[in-house]
Symmetry: C2
Subunit: 210 residues, 2 copies
């Protein structure tokens, strides 16, 4: 069936990029992973770049959907960190972030990959952004948080960490531990009593003006 073959090729592409990296991905390696003929890449998608773009779109949409409810359930920054950690562990299996990292790397040298990659990443950023906005609202640290920029920073950090994972797993997990630990600060800021909280707000206001 045609729809089935398309799907096999998309899954084969995701698999191949994860295992071989963008530099080791070709119509032939993808087709082999998919268990179909190499010519079908061009019949169904026109070019390898177009197949990769499609794989990137599909895989990301699925992964973001998969996490939507859990993102929605987050009510504190600490919980968001915990979810991030879970997501990182999950990604070892699913590998969408690794795919995006490889697509980003590939986009550096091939503009045909750039726009689909950027769109896919925006799906993640938007999701993170909406959680951040909700969770940070009312917190004393709200005025120092630029939600939209921070969402980009978090996404970038995730991408970097996923790349590290292959080369230095220990460093990568130490990094997550460190962020977790640092998250205690956010919790402390959120749990201050009303007096201390007002004092913190005042300090932040004056520091912001400096």
């Amino acid at each position: 069936m045609a729809e089935d073959t398309r799907r096999r090729l998309i899954d084969g592409a995701i698999d191949t990029v994860r295992r071989n990296g963008i530099a080791g991905t070709s119509a032939r390696t993808v087709a082999a992973a998919a268990g179909v003929n190499q010519a079908l890449v061009f019949y169904h998608f026109g070019s390898v770049a177009d197949l990769l773009n499609e794989a990137c779109r599909v895989s990301t949409a699925e992964d973001v959907d998969r996490y939507r409810e859990r993102f929605a359930a987050v009510t504190s920054l600490r919980e968001l960190l915990a979810l991030g950690r879970e997501l990182h562990a999950d990604q070892r299996e699913r590998g969408n972030v690794t795919l995006l990292a490889q697509m980003l790397a590939g986009a550096q040298g091939d503009e045909r990959l750039a726009s689909a990659t950027s769109e896919a990443i925006k799906l993640w950023v938007r999701e993170i952004e909406s959680v951040l906005r909700r969770v940070v609202a009312g917190s004393p640290i709200e005025p120092v948080v630029d939600v939209s920029g921070l969402a980009s920073a978090v996404s970038a950090a995730f991408v970097g960490m996923e790349l590290f994972e292959a080369v230095d797993p220990a460093g990568s997990s130490a990094a997550l531990d460190a962020l977790d630990r640092l998250g205690i600060l956010l919790e402390v800021a959120d749990d201050l009593g009303p007096v201390a909280s007002t004092a913190l707000r005042r300090r932040i206001r004056s520091a912001t003006r400096e």
Copy 2:
């Protein structure tokens, strides 16, 4: 001269990876960038992977050296953030972090690239780690900072951000702005008077035990 040719090839490799990405880097493209014959890649380095490893070593050692004094001059977390921003701007010209990002991406599919890449990244991590350790010492937030893990996290974030830059420059600079703004928090924590500072320490201690 042989030494000169080696150097041209290394520079050509750095240049090619930055411009074409790891997937678009070959003995031919590198040699063209270096203005020398393609066969010299193999004469001098044995293989393309070996040339890339060497380029990665050399470029990183030079860049880390270049920043050593400035890292040493940093005395606060806020200053470190500012230096990070300067470094990011600098990297648009020099591109060592982009090179490392591409090497990381390549290492995912070719173990021959992994160890040199991991070594190069450790040069950066070590440098960041020693600054962090110095700067955080005595601060009330010291107990929640895992210096070594945080240094890895910062490096990973940098790598991710450098990859974003090519695909979404606006998002990348918004990310840095956001971190900068968040840095105000660190400044506030560091500038507390002795009473508030002791209170913060106590809060952190109890939160750490939870």
